[in-house]
Symmetry: C2
Subunit: 338 residues, 2 copies
């Protein structure tokens, strides 16, 4: 049965230099395989588009292996089981996992996590209740550790993680300043997400805006972007500040090597720390975090924001929106109706 279904997929054709282009992808059509014992066949419904995907396209040692040339592009996604050879998975069950940029996936049970569409809309499982939510939760609470009344600054503030970080920091009683690109995003994080203020890095000098908005310095800086904005934040740290390194999206397409933070000696003068983390290290605590996040969502104290684009075939262009900043909240590709 399944073998008669044709599956469309985006496979990595070549490794990009700078921004990925159409030429870096092969769009292929092949029959779907049958699930073996312990596997399920899953219809892909929603694909998560993440900055980390750019790194997976490079042939470089990192926390996971690169995607091989010819391989289906790796992607986290939500799907529905349409055939199963594992007793715990029934046809109709909803699951999340690394399903890849394609219409159908055959996946081992151990790579799938069951989710409940009655608790939250499916896209929220890729946003506040998914990786961005867990990243914001553990990065802010475990690494940043803001205290009530402290000043938290977050870059990429209108993005999937940044928007959640700011809201979570507000829930903990901190003052929150967001950094985002353009007046619309700045209005969005203040009016929609409840940040105390926002800095438009495309229109303002970030360093002087931070001096104005953070007269007592920055206690927690949550960095999603790297580059000059990280430098501006380092220059404004308060004593004992914590810098959380979550990403460096300004640098992922750099062709001449990453720019290091010139102001890192501010760590010394201010007795501050800069710490990296990987959300996957907290996998044993996802349940606990998810329950707390779900409670805030249900009570309307937290908003999960998704920007949903429809159509698998738009993948190459939609992915670029991550780097051009043409989205608010979590960027998701809808592959099929549930």
């Amino acid at each position: 049965m399944a073998s008669e279904i044709l599956n469309h997929a985006f496979r990595l054709a070549s490794r990009p230099v700078g921004l990925p282009t159409r030429e870096n992808w092969d769009f292929t059509e092949q029959p779907v395989g049958e699930p073996a014992d312990g596997e399920a066949l899953v219809r892909v419904l929603y694909l998560s588009l993440d900055p980390a995907m750019r790194g997976w396209m490079n042939d470089a040692r990192s926390y996971v292996a690169p995607v091989a040339i010819g391989e289906v592009m790796r992607a986290f996604a939500i799907g529905r089981v349409i055939d199963s050879r594992h007793p715990e998975l029934k046809v109709g069950d909803h699951v999340s996992g690394l399903l890849g940029v394609q219409e159908y996936a055959v996946v081992d049970r151990r790579g799938l996590h069951k989710i409940d569409p009655a608790l939250a809309p499916l896209p929220v499982y890729l946003s506040a209740l998914g990786m961005p939510g867990m990243t914001a939760y553990f990065g802010l609470f475990d690494v940043g550790r803001p205290e009530p009344g402290q000043t938290v600054v977050v870059s990429g503030a209108a993005g999937a993680v940044g928007g959640l970080v700011g809201q979570l920091a507000k829930l903990k009683g901190a003052r929150v300043i967001g950094i985002a690109g353009g007046p619309e995003k700045c209005r969005y994080v203040v009016d929609q997400l409840g940040f105390d203020a926002a800095i438009d890095y495309k229109a303002e000098n970030v360093a002087s805006a931070l001096r104005r908005h953070c007269p007592d310095g920055i206690d927690v800086y949550f960095d999603n972007v790297g580059g000059e904005i990280l430098d501006a934040a380092l220059a404004r740290l308060a004593r004992n500040a914590r810098v959380v390194i979550c990403g460096a999206i300004s640098q992922y397409n750099a062709t001449e090597g990453i720019a290091g933070p010139r102001n890192y000696m501010s760590l010394l003068v201010n007795r501050a720390s800069m710490t990296g983390f990987m959300v996957m290290d907290y996998v044993n605590r996802y349940g606990e975090a998810g329950r707390e996040m779900a409670g805030w969502l249900e009570r309307g104290e937290l908003q999960s924001q998704e920007d949903i684009v429809t159509g698998l075939s738009t993948f190459p262009e939609t992915l670029l929106r991550l780097f051009t900043g043409e989205h608010n909240g979590k960027l998701i590709l809808r592959v099929a109706e549930d």
Copy 2:
């Protein structure tokens, strides 16, 4: 009486660009003032020459005010009281404090700390029992926190702080790799100070040498130098590594801005931290640390290394040795016989 004594001092004449030159100094001769109530007149015996002095010469906001033009250059020193108007200070007492680059200093009691020449030779109070010792002790034990069997790498390994850091890490059961410039210094840290190995950054590729010497990665990197060596160490971090930012001597005379660590994203991949500290924050624990250090010195388990140059007039040239690396251990200027 005192007012008849002529004092010679080095005063800041102009702010250097790059390495300080003779032209940046005024060598002045003036009568010594009388101590007022609560003050003492101190004969300066030993001056500590520190990389931090270069920063004090800049007109930049930092953890202390810059030295003003025309002001006696700030320096930590050891001296002997020759006149006193404070009951706790007797003529003949030995003291440490910020006495300045001069022959005599009039200082308030609160700026002086009494030391005991029977416990250790006076220069040791500027070395293992002074700032370098406290810096190594708290930077390594409080920030770096090496565990037995872990790999510790220290740059500036033949310097005042680096040589102590390596020895302290050995005392805690760590494997210690030093980075230093030239074969003599490398031999010195291995043969004299007991490091497990040394890398000559002037002759070897530091990145590949670190791969060879640290097959399981670096658990603690204690950085005194910044620049390319910091980058090479970042590229070799082990999971959960701690990078201690103590200094960046390779950058202090940079005229085109500091080079930031391009490999800082290694902090993310390796869930590592980079933390700055200031030894003065530990002032309440100097006593505790000093007692432990004195015990190790007495039992021959720790060596305090000093490189002593004689003559106040050599100050401008002797200071440069810090940046050209022409010294082993703590660089000290002897101003007078005790």
